[in-house]
Amino acid sequence: MIGNLILAPVFIHLVIAVLQLTAWRKTLTQRILSVGGALAALITAISLFTHVYNNGTVTVNASNWQAPFGIVFVADLLGSTMVLLTSIAGFAVSLFSATGLSRQRMLYGYFPIFHFLLMGLNGAFLTGDIFNLYVWFEVIIISSFVLMTLGGRKTQLEGALKYMSMNILASMFFLTGIGILYGMTGSLNMADLATKMNDVQNRSLVGITSIFFILGFGIKSAVFPLYFWLPSSYHTPPSAVAATFGGLLTKVGIYAMLRVHSLIFVPDDFTKKLLMVIAVLTILTGSFGAITKTNIRRLFSYLIVCHIGFMMGGIAMFTKVALMGTVFYLIHDIMVKTNMFLIAGVIMQQRGAMSIEKLGGLYKEYPKISLLIAVVLFSLVGIPPLSGFWPKIFLFKESFATHQYFFIAALIIGSLVTLYVIAKLWAEVFWKDTPPGIQVDNKFEAFPFYRKLLLVLPIGILALVTVYIGLNAEAIIQVAERISDELLDTSSYINAVFKN
């Protein structure tokens, strides 16, 4: 029975997407199905999370094939936390899309593809088979290609071309790695691989294979030399799409890296050093990029890159406290980054522009919405009681303990630049008066009340979750601590898969 609960978050989105395909061009039916389905997925994700939190890792074997031979789905605490976060973000974006998207895009199948994307994400977080993980990655990227090109504007197609070629290349690296891994061990099950990796004699081949995985996941999570596709494509699709991408897609790369590095390739000194160099350079280049941008969404894209570096640094140190920092930051980042792009969407509706030179006067016109947005911006920066502050404590503490002074410097620069950029954003967009001579195209004002509510409500929900994470940090720290224990000592995962 509990096995079905593991697969429920995947299947709900599949069923919803298929139902929506039968309601082609009936946008109202699709919207209701989308919000209802996302809510159902959220409820199952909460029950899955509470079950896993109370009773430990649960698994289900596909078609009842025994563990190393068939595909196994595993809901451990990390996986079910990620599913929960995906469902919260998915619900918020689904609410926002119900009114925040042009009718043309809905007519050409935005909602079914959106649910296929969420299905792929949930599948990737729950699978215990490395080749199956590859297949879920492909489900994710092909859905994201469609979402990115939907609408067919020139900039969108250009961005999509860069996004597509880099992501296909990443999958190729990933697949090559899987092939070599299978050649070495004769297994694809991640728990089985974890036990068999130690017996492999040819250690240099193991090292090379791990580089393939770092390359593949590095492109997907947008780390230093491999991130250039992200800022040149994430600002092009509509905000609802960008919110899903910015909040969830790069974090799948971080999740996969956590999973693969804890189970299969436990980082040695070389890998740790490599990841640390990547992390430092990611933070620096991401933050310098953010300073130079004036388009809000491009700025947010660079902030994504910058904050990916924080999480990479935690993986690079690979100690309990550092992994706690990474996991906590992951939880915080998914909520906040999704919200940032939704906020950009609301600003777009209110002003019809994205460049901060053309924006202004939002605080005067919409003081309540602006204060709500301020909460989100504060937690992104990491003002103490809010969610961005807590993970940084762990990262600082551990980098002092392991003498990673370059990383400390990068953390400080990254946080400072985030603060500077957000302060600039606040002053220019919210406090400054609308610049003279700018024609304001305010669609938001003319909307009926329910549409305004549906646009602002998802931001409110995500902000509430962010505030909860910040104020009830102790509970989140406990979850993060258990996850990092499970990542360092994988025996509970392996035992759960083999049922002994």
């Binding site: 900039t155 197609l157 250009e158 071309l161 290349l169 899987i178 070599i180």
Partner: protein, 118 residues
Amino acid sequence: MELLLILVMGLLYAGGIYFILRRSMVKLLLGIMLLGSATNILIFVLGAIVKAKPPIIGSMHEVLDNSFADPVPQALILTAIVISFALTAFAIVLLKRVYALLETDDLDNLNTPEEEDI
């Protein structure tokens, strides 16, 4: 047989990398396709090739004996081929749209400034 496959694989990788480093969009796509085929051959070779030994259990036996062709890499390749077929089909249509809009094949021209709707 293995040596031949390895040589082909090396050629495909080399050709693929050469193509994706070119500026033309079509060559980029060709390069990605070549790399995909090379990866498939890699998986095939890593599954240890044996001749005429299908993994079928005879009626007299309970388990497979001796060496036999591993079916798993072939299943993996089949999956990878289907996926790359879908991706390639999408990529061709996307390239065609981009070409129709920009009338250029050069990747360096893909930098239209932000036009700001939606």
